[in-house]
């Protein structure tokens, strides 16, 4: 750059060269100004558009079923405390504030948090719950008045994330806890309320502090600049980016007030990485680090979060607790120094431990199988963008307690069976539903339940083996003039020539015939010969139709082999089939979702309870009776080595050819579970239905302790006395006579004399006596 000769005498004409240069400089700066102005206008538009419009993409949040409390409910104190722990309730000696719980013997006091459900707002309130054994014996409010029913807030079990995998819990600025705003301002931008976006004072102060201390201790960016950087720009450090940032910060301050900017900051600031998920905003940070809602945080917790803003990875309290503690205490010093809180409060806060919950990475505590089900059901009604951006709240029927019991049953059983050759390659799946409501309560898609991957519960279509048999017997029992539970059938070898000329020769599992048996015994003992014969009599197409009426539309060919379960189904389909039987002949489509709300809590969609009667309750009652006998005397009888005899259950084992698939499907009054075991490569396993899947099922039922099966006897069913050895009608006064259910009109006529053998073989009598006990 050249100078003019006489800078102080502007009247003296400058040289021609300088004049030209000045002219150029002027023109250039004019052009520059225009460009800058244009850029500013553009930035202004960007700032306003993003800020005023939809600000953040918020993933959909998926919630488990809310735990309902009422007197007389079957709920153990331990299960209740498990739920409270998962919800982040603090254990204290007295339940003082929201989110606190106190346990005194059999009484649990808590202050619930309240929640916005589809039906309306459940208020936060004090509740005293008294337990007696495994039941809730009393429920009362703070004033001692009895409460009818109370709902806890639902546990959040997952979300549906967009590609950028940001996650946040949106907070409003009037919901923040005491001290948060002041602490943030004191630490990051103490002139926040007085500057216009950029603060030269802050920059100067930061320069002074850093040069005098020789290290980078303070930053000169305002909160607004930080917001701009995170919200609009990348973290690329360059001069041009810094300038853009400064301009945008000033524009932001021009259009929006301090509160709005602060609110945006609170929701945008990056506070941590959880595996692949980026944690943004103090709302989610509070849950992520303390398992508590933001409004419940105390000063020492707030100080930690604010301190982490400067370097979320560097000050990660789980990885570097010492650094985090030092940083937190530094923040607390600033708080005292600037008078945000009293010295006494700060001293008390400094004494507190960090208080972060242990596990931050939630990779192995997710419930991928159930969430997969939820996503599939939602995709039928919503586009992907709605799911990943609109912050929808999805309420499901998922029961985390049952899920954990199912997962534990599976892992414990596999551990026990580990010695068997080939057990390691066996995979598994499990479906747990409530047969009375048709809701899916737990879902396991693989042996390692927490791993997301192939969801075998929904997608593994495998031959169901003997699980098909109830549909054969149901088809028969719908014709009471021809078949009753005590009809005689022949369990003898036979062969059938198919339409293609192939001969089908079924075999029993134990390779031997059993002669003449009662119809129900073919089901209880899972005999192939009698079942196949029965199925051919009623007709394979009719059996397949029955399966359709049970709720599963299979496209199996009508081959005789289908009668023994050559056809394939997924565990969910099996559950659907058995659900109709468990539910008295009423088909209920299986639901995982109850309702959907918008991000603001407005009701959006409901998935209502629907049923369809597809079977006569009488026929279902008879099939249930036969399936109870599976458990009492048939292939499922090992369950009563573990479970109490008073727990009436019905079920069916299933083993496909060469034990490639091990199945069990069974139910009580309020719980239905299907377990499958098999190899993904369809190889042989060392398990039958009884030695494999049934073991997991039994272990689960032991933990779940459901209500015993008790279907009301339909009006067209009568109990008739019969002689146990011949099936002929008998009388109540005859020794050894037993009662069996029959459709009215199909029972054997009452006997005139007590027929049958007077002196049965000793062993048989003992066996009979054994069952009487």
């Amino acid at each position: 750059m050249t100078r003019t000769r006489n800078p102080r005498t502007p009247q003296k004409r400058p040289t021609g060269r300088s004049r030209a240069w000045l002219g150029w400089a002027l023109k250039l700066s004019l052009v520059g100004l225009v460009i800058v102005a244009g850029f500013a206008v553009y930035l202004d538009a960007v700032v306003q558009e993003k800020f005023s419009g939809k600000r953040w993409t918020i993933p959909a949040k998926v919630y488990a079923r809310p735990l309902e409390l009422f007197t007389g409910q079957k709920l153990s104190k331990n299960d209740f405390l498990t739920e409270l722990d998962a919800l982040g309730y603090r254990r204290e000696s007295a339940a003082n504030g929201p989110g606190a719980a106190a346990v005194n013997g059999n009484t649990v006091d808590l202050n619930t948090r309240g929640f916005q459900f589809y039906e309306g707002m459940e208020p936060a309130q004090f509740v005293r719950v008294r337990f007696s054994g495994d039941y809730v014996a009393g429920l009362s409010a703070a004033n001692g008045k009895a409460l009818d029913v109370v709902r806890l807030e639902p546990l959040m079990i997952g979300g549906i994330y967009p590609k950028n995998l940001e996650d946040r819990i949106l907070i409003k600025i009037d919901q923040v806890p005491k001290y948060l705003l002041e602490t943030l301002v004191a630490t990051e931008d103490r002139d926040f309320y007085s500057h216009y976006g950029v603060s030269p004072k802050s920059i100067a102060r930061a320069m002074w502090v850093n040069t005098s201390s020789g290290s980078m201790r303070q930053g000169g960016s305002t909160l607004t600049q930080q917001l701009v950087k995170n919200f609009y720009l990348s973290s690329e450090r360059s001069l041009s980016r810094k300038l853009t940032e400064a301009m945008m910060a000033m524009l932001l301050e021009l259009h929006y007030d301090k509160r709005e900017i602060l609110e945006a900051y609170l929701n945008e600031v990056f506070v941590g990485q959880d595996g692949q998920r980026a944690v943004h905003g103090f709302g989610l940070a509070s849950q992520f680090f303390f398992s508590q809602p933001l409004s419940e945080l105390k000063l020492h917790q707030i100080a930690l979060l604010v301190g982490m803003v400067k370097g979320p990875s560097y000050y990660n309290p789980r990885r570097y607790p010492d650094r985090a503690l030092a940083r937190r205490n530094l923040v607390l010093d600033l708080v005292a120094e600037q008078g945000v809180a009293s010295q006494a409060e700060v001293d008390a806060a400094k004494k507190m431990p960090l208080g972060v919950t242990k596990r931050g990475s939630l990779a192995d505590s997710s419930f991928p199988a159930f969430l997969d089900l939820v996503k599939r059901q939602l995709r039928q009604d919503y586009r992907d963008e709605d799911l990943t951006e609109e912050g929808l709240r999805i309420f499901t029927s998922f029961d985390p307690i049952l899920q954990m019991k199912a997962e534990t049953s599976m892992s414990e059983t596999f551990k026990r069976l580990a010695g068997r050759k080939g057990a390691d390659e066996v995979e598994s799946a499990m479906v747990v539903t409530n047969p009375e409501t048709g809701e899916v309560q737990a879902l396991i898609g693989s042996r390692q339940a927490g791993f997301a991957g192939f969801n075998r519960a929904i997608d593994a279509v495998r031959p169901i083996g003997s699980l098909v048999k109830p549909s054969v017997y149901l088809t028969a029992l719908e014709q009471p003039s021809k078949y009753t539970l005590t009809s005689w059938v022949q369990d003898e070898p036979f062969s059938v020539k198919g339409a293609d000329g192939q001969v089908w020769r079924p075999q029993n599992y134990d390779r031997r015939p059993h002669g003449t048996i009662y119809l129900y015994q073919g089901l209880a003992n899972s005999y192939n010969l009698s079942t196949a014969k029965l199925g051919l009599e009623v007709g394979v197409p009719n059996v397949i139709k029955t399966i359709g009426r049970l709720g599963v539309n299979v496209d199996w060919p009508a081959f005789p082999a289908m009668l023994l379960g050559a056809g394939g189904m997924s565990p969910m389909q099996v559950a659907t089939m058995y659900q109709t039987i468990a539910n008295g002949g009423f088909n209920t489509p299986m639901r995982g979702i109850r309702s959907v709300l918008t991000a603001e809590g407005e009701p959006l969609k409901r998935y209502p309870f629907q049923i369809q009667q597809t079977f006569d309750p009488g026929a279902i009652y008879l099939v249930q009776n036969a399936m109870q006998r599976v458990m009492r005397e048939g292939t499922g009888r090992s369950v009563y080595n573990t479970l109490p005899r008073s727990l009436t259950l019905a079920g069916k084992t299933g083993t496909s050819n060469d034990s490639r698939d091990s199945w069990f499907s069974g139910f009580s009054q309020d719980l239905l579970a299907v377990v499958w075991m098999g190899r993904d490569d369809n190889g042989k396993t060392p398990f039958t239905g009884a030695t494999g899947a049934l073991q997991v099922w039994t272990s689960f039922m032991k933990k779940a302790d459901p209500l015993p099966l008790d279907m009301p006897q339909p009006d067209n069913v009568v109990q008739a006395w019969i002689d146990p050895y011949t099936g002929r009608g008998s009388d109540g006064s005859c020794p050894g006579a037993v009662q069996m259910p029959y459709i009215r009109g199909s029972e054997p006529p009452a006997g005139a004399t007590c027929g049958g053998e007077e002196n049965p073989a000793e062993s048989v009598m003992d066996w009979v006596k054994g069952w009487m006990n």
Binding site: I160, W488, P724
Partner: protein, 267 residues
């Protein structure tokens, strides 16, 4: 010139500002992947998971405790007798598998020809008319709500409801009254989850469905309620009337007449 100084100062200051202002750590690399499923606050559920399961407490003992007369009211238990013991008739009837003297049951030999017709058991008459007035063999169906009286029969609808179910039915009535049918159905479904076998809940749900115009579901729900309404003739009558209404709406006048007849038989 003065502008020279400014021209140098500005970049200098800016440069320093850059250095001072860039105090935050750059955000970690966020990979672009398909939507995944991560969990927020079930962290403590994990802790218990790794601890290897839960104690089921006194699960086994509980059934015994019930029989010994603990006065805990149990939804879904039968009357005042606590958990139903396993009736011999339904279970361990000791039918032997040893050789049986042949002799077919009087219903005739089992034909080997496949069935060509599949009689639909769900005609308009799911229950035998003649059977309607006969007392059922077993005790009346457990109703799913605590009852203060042991008598299970002869109660008209709306009697003896208390606790959570009554509270929710009351809420549902209010919602229905103000036209919020979705809310009413929601509250009723909540009640149903608490007491799945209480026919009054299903009855109300059927009524709401009728109001919403879903007559087919109304009929199905009423049918389900009927299976639980043994020994409650007035409730049965109301349910049959609901079925009649539903059938009328579906254009089935003959079926509606049949249902009304059933209602008269019951009331």
């Amino acid at each position: 010139m003065r502008c020279d100084v400014n021209k140098w100062l500005f970049p200098a200051v800016t440069a320093l500002a850059v250095l001072q202002g860039c105090s935050s750590v750059p955000r970690g690399n966020i990979p672009v992947v398909d939507s995944s499923t991560r969990v927020s606050n079930s962290e403590r559920v994990t802790a218990n998971r790794s601890a290897g399961g839960y104690s089921t407490g006194t699960a086994q003992a509980q059934t015994l405790a019930e029989d010994s007369g603990v006065t805990v009211m149990i939804p879904q238990g039968a009357g005042a007798s606590g958990i139903q013991t396993f009736p011999a008739a339904n279970g361990a009837a000791p039918i032997s598998t040893s050789p049986i003297t042949p002799g077919p049951i009087s219903t005739g030999p089992v034909s080997s020809a496949p069935m060509t017709t599949n009689p639909n058991p769900i005609a308009d008459e799911p229950f035998d008319i003649a059977a309607m007035n006969n007392a059922p063999q077993s005790t009346s169906a457990p109703t799913g709500i605590p009852r203060s009286t042991a008598a299970a029969g002869g109660l008209s609808a709306d009697e003896q409801l208390d606790g959570p179910v009554l509270a929710l039915l009351t809420t549902a009535k209010t919602q229905q009254g103000s036209g919020d049918f979705n809310g009413a159905a929601s509250s009723l479904e909540r009640a149903q989850r608490i007491a799945p076998r209480e026919p009054q809940v299903l009855y109300r749900l059927a009524q709401v469905r009728l109001s919403q115009g879903d007559a087919a579901q109304a009929e199905q729900l009423a049918r389900r309620a009927l299976t639980y309404a043994n020994g409650r003739p007035s409730l049965q009558a109301e349910l049959w009337n609901t079925i009649a209404q539903a059938r009328e709406k579906q254009g089935d006048s003959a079926g509606a007449a049949l249902a009304r007849q059933k209602a008269r038989v019951n009331s």
